[in-house]
């Protein structure tokens, strides 16, 4: 059985990763599971300068999901290089894919320029979709022209894989995906959180400070599966599926829809062992269904 996933000229050892913002840089969860078994960790977003994040409350729970607006709290490039890289260097086998966020093209570029020399950085996932930061990604991710330009700018800065992470909060996600491929993206992550809102009817106020935030969890899985299905029909680069994957069955749905890899996000909060059980479940499914490689999943749904 071949579980490897090729992105640009590199391979993930298997198709299971952890979604940005749910797993830090892996160190907290390293106490609980063997992260070297994972295909990839998509890290918490790195921005050029440190960000303290949004005021409270940042989280609320909704039926079969949660809404967050953390505000990309992170230590900036300096914090990343001094505090996170030593841990990254200790990880074997699992690809460390750095999620990059910014509010201008230069900010995205500068993050890559400043960290590209780090060998343990496997590649980049570009957050053009975070709906939380007013001055941030939303404008990039919703406009195919800007997306193509940003992709092509970043593509020229590095030899490492550049993965564009799409927001579902657009009229037609496939047009943005096509723009990513045209700009030279090596892969697409699909989808980021769905914009959501919850109101406390007793306080007559939104449940989180930023009023709206990113809905994640099982509630959004059908949105993600549909997006992956539609995007994979329009692009030939690999698509990494995410959104509400709670178990192996959910991950298999994404693979059957056309994904070449998947990410586990909110489920990490509920059971930190989920990525491992998902990986085991994918292997069992492949054995039981006579599949020998990940692309075999793509032969069923046309």
């Amino acid at each position: 059985m071949d579980l490897k996933v090729k992105i640009r000229d590199k391979f993930l050892q298997n198709p299971v990763g952890t979604a940005s913002g749910t797993y830090g840089y892996g160190e907290e969860y390293g106490e609980l599971i063997d992260i070297n078994k994972l295909g990839a960790i998509f890290t918490k977003a790195v921005t050029v300068l440190p960000r303290e994040g949004n005021p409270l409350p940042r989280l609320t729970e909704t039926p079969y999901g949660m809404i967050n607006s953390i505000g990309l709290a992170n230590g900036g490039v300096d914090g990343f290089l001094s505090k996170k890289v030593p841990f990254l260097n200790s990880v074997k086998n699992c690809a460390m894919i750095i999620n990059v966020a910014g509010s201008t093209e230069d900010e995205y570029s500068n993050v890559i320029k400043m960290i590209d020399h780090v060998d343990s950085v496997w590649g980049y996932e570009i957050n053009i979709s975070c709906p939380n930061v007013k001055t941030g990604g939303l404008a990039f991710g919703t406009d195919p022209i800007q997306v193509e330009r940003l992709t092509s700018t970043l593509r020229k800065l590095t030899n490492k894989p550049v993965i564009m992470k799409l927001t579902p909060n657009v009229t037609d996600i496939t047009t943005v995906a096509v723009a990513c491929e045209a700009g030279g993206a090596d892969a697409i992550s699909c989808i980021n959180t769905v914009m959501g809102m919850k109101i406390d009817i007793h306080k007559k106020q939104p449940s989180i400070y930023q009023k709206t935030g990113g809905l994640s969890g099982p509630a959004i899985k059908p949105v993600g599966v549909a997006a992956v299905y539609r995007v994979t029909k329009k692009v030939s680069i690999p698509v990494i599926g995410l959104g509400g994957i709670m178990n192996a069955d959910d991950a298999i749905e994404y693979l059957l829809a056309g994904a070449s890899a998947i990410q586990v996000g909110t489920a990490n909060f509920i059971d930190p062992n989920t990525p491992i059980t998902v990986l085991e479940g994918i292997k069992d499914y492949m054995i039981n269904n006579g599949l020998t490689k990940i692309s075999d999943f793509h032969n069923f749904i046309l």
Binding site: T22, Y29, E31, G53, I70, A73, F269, I270, D271
Partner: protein, 251 residues
Amino acid sequence: MNQQQCKVLKNMEIARDYYELEFTWDNKSEPKPGQFLTINPNGVPLLRRPFAFSSYQSGKAAIIYKKIGMATKGFSVLREGDTIDVLGPLGNPFTLPEKRPLLIAGGIGLGPMIFTANYLAENSYSPILVVGARDKSLIPELNLNSAIKVNYCTDDGSLGFKGNVAEFLGSQRDFSVSDCEIMACGPHIMLKACHEIAIKNNIECQVSLEEMMACAVGACYGCVVETTLDEKYKRVCKDGPVFNSRVIKWT
């Protein structure tokens, strides 16, 4: 910290809507007073729920929880022999005090303060425990070390002092607050009052905070609290839940 499948040993209503849940505990990580755990509610609602340890002895641990929402309603029907998915111990414990410990427990903050009081008493401190609640039906019978001096406060006067814990501390007492060090867990407004009493008496005050959490291990930055430090937000789950009250920006 580790994730373990624990067997329920006991799950009893000990006061109105207050339950004590006792379960097996793998001794390879010993919980300390002030630390917490999360329990997987297995589906609905989605996220794990955090609770402070209320006791630990070799091979078993317990929490006290209030039946208040979907998750705790689900926990309230757990029976001996059932399995719960527990992650812990999480967060930082209380720091051992230098002066006489004055422990303040409000509402469901009782659990960690019982653990702390018993632990301190076993380590040759003479803790004072002040337990506050709306009325006596919300105060369980406590299994406490005899070295602990207990005071009750109820809003309606149905048990002990009539009034809240801050009013109690401001009233005539047989101990002096300024000779003590406060350790507290309870509602925000009570913790803020404890902080103000500590400032007024120029004594130390540690507070254990509660916040909505997603990961509970420090990864998601969902449960932060605003501080007076350069680092504007600290994580309740990883940097806390116990904080020096002077670090917190009280609102």
